[in-house]
């Protein structure tokens, strides 16, 4: 593990995405309202460059005809097959195969209507040192 200065704070506005290369690996930096996150720029499903995808929210529905957009700007959607990842944790969401499993009872478990998917995009800690963003990897 070593610290790498990857960007100046000013280069990454809130809602912004910036791809940097550290030790030959592409890392996507995200600014979510002043919180900084880093994901490996590679989708664990089939290897696409994740940061070419769109930053979006989670579309949710509690019953037919009602929709809401949760956590706008906090999910990144793969540019190929549309896998959605939580920028804060790298966790994939909305795996339709798992919805069938009884223990994920969407009706009774608050907040469980969206089920964690099988993939986790690799994350790295980001620190702020003297107006620079630093990634530890």
């Amino acid at each position: 593990m070593a610290k790498h200065v990857v960007a100046a704070i000013a280069e990454l506005a809130p809602g912004g995405v910036k791809v940097v290369t550290v030790n030959g690996r592409e890392i996507g930096l995200f600014n979510l309202g002043g919180d900084y996150f880093a994901l490996l720029n590679r989708c664990p499903h089939a290897g696409a460059a994740l940061c070419d995808g769109q930053v979006m929210g989670l579309a949710l529905s509690d019953e037919p005809g009602t929709y809401r957009l949760d956590r706008p700007g906090e999910m990144i959607r793969c540019p190929w097959h549309g896998w959605e990842y939580d920028i804060r944790t790298g966790q994939s969401w909305c795996d339709p195969r798992k919805v069938r499993v009884p223990r994920f009872d969407v009706a009774r478990e608050t907040g469980a209507e969206i089920v964690k998917g099988p993939y986790i995009a690799e994350t790295f800690p980001v620190m702020i040192e003297h107006d620079y963003l630093v990634v530890d990897m």
């Binding site: 290897g47 696409a48 690799e122």
Partner: protein
């Protein structure tokens, strides 16, 4: 530190080469790009009337697609133009890095499903000349598909005879939804010509052509539209087999492209069971349907089935037959399958050689 590996790491030691049986070349600026290949009589027609729009990928789409241009978000050429319209970028992004030894073009356009048959035939011819001039003539790895309008059988055969000897064309593009189910006898002269030239009939999913999208009517969502391709391909197989097409043309090859394959065993078992009981209704069908399916029909792999237990894919292919599947990527569309990660289960070298190259060489006689 979170650690994640890809489902299956690419083998860096072995350089994988593939025959990609589904690549989409796209008109850079829509149908106007066809003008150099279209008789002047149709120029004004195109401007004044335009094509009948009830099919995929001609400015409009039946159901709104998941992503713009139906494409990978990273497939828009930096030089401009829509995904699939720039050969240099296609080489850089797909053909070279993914080891594509041969790429089978699937040009999707409005020609094959026009009700104005003469206009449709002219559009088909223009698509074929466009493929020669701008794709297969520019890259030796690419093979065209002879675009025809099946509902004008005479025009379709004339087009096959016009370009059929040109070995840059490897198959005949035939939409799965024609006016009648494709096994109907009116289309048989086309199959006779296909067999004569040893050109497989390549059926790529391509819109609904005025038919109701599913057997149960018009659905609400794109996800249902996408799934309806399975029903279409099942109807194609049922029609070909039970009309006796393969009895009449035993060397005819049919490739079903982008319709999936997980459903093939269930259809085959059911057809065999029904045939055993109702054979006398279709006495021209001499053998169990499964035998025709296993000798005359092939399936492309994309979009690959991803069963919950990845090993189930091996059982599935055992049932269908390892010689029946042809690898495809669908580049540049959004549901592209990357050859390095498409199989979430380990295949033997022999299995890989079959799926990635060998089966395609067997089906398409014009490679190399």
């Amino acid at each position: 530190m979170t650690t994640t590996t890809l489902d299956r790491q690419a083998d860096a030691q072995t350089r994988l080469t593939v025959i990609d049986c589904d690549i989409h070349p796209t008109l850079r600026g829509g149908l106007d790009n066809l003008l150099p290949y279209l008789p002047t009589r149709w120029h004004e027609h195109l401007r004044l009337y335009g094509p009948l729009m009830h099919q995929a990928l001609a400015k409009t789409l039946s159901y709104p697609r998941m992503q713009p241009g139906l494409a990978r978000l990273d497939a828009w050429p930096p030089e401009g133009g829509v995904p699939g319209s720039n050969l240099a970028f296609m080489r850089r992004q797909h053909l070279d890095p993914n080891g594509v030894e041969f790429g089978m073009l699937q040009p999707l356009g409005p020609g094959p499903m026009q009700r104005n048959l003469d206009f449709g035939a002219a559009i088909c011819t223009a698509f074929n000349e466009w493929q020669r001039a701008e794709w297969t003539g520019q890259d030796q790895r690419l093979r065209g598909a002879v675009v025809i309008i099946p509902d004008d059988v005479e025009a379709a055969i004339a087009e096959i005879r016009r370009v059929g000897a040109d070995r840059s064309f490897a198959q005949i593009a035939f939409p799965p939804r024609t006016a009648e189910p494709p096994g109907h006898r009116r289309y048989w002269p086309i199959y006779e010509a296909a067999a004569e030239y040893d050109l497989p009939i390549g059926m790529h999913v391509s819109g609904f052509n005025g038919h109701t999208l599913t057997g149960g009517g018009w659905p609400s969502f794109y996800i249902e539209d996408h799934f309806s391709n399975v029903q279409v391909m099942q109807s194609v197989i049922t029609s070909f087999v039970l009309e006796g097409v393969f009895e009449r043309f035993p060397t005819l090859k049919v490739v079903l492209i982008e319709g999936g394959f997980g459903w093939v065993p269930a259809l085959t078992w059911r057809l065999d069971k029904h045939w055993a009981r109702m054979r006398s209704e279709v006495p021209r069908v001499k053998r169990p349907p499964s035998e025709y399916i296993k000798s005359n029909i092939w399936f492309t792999t994309q979009p690959i089935e991803e069963p919950e237990n990845p090993r189930d894919l091996l059982h599935l292919i055992d049932w269908i037959g390892w010689d029946r599947l042809l690898f495809s990527t669908d580049y540049p569309h959004w549901d592209f399958d990357d050859p390095k990660y498409v199989f979430k289960v380990r295949l033997t070298e022999a299995q890989k050689a079959q799926l990635f190259r060998g089966n395609a060489r067997h089906v398409y006689s014009r490679l190399g």
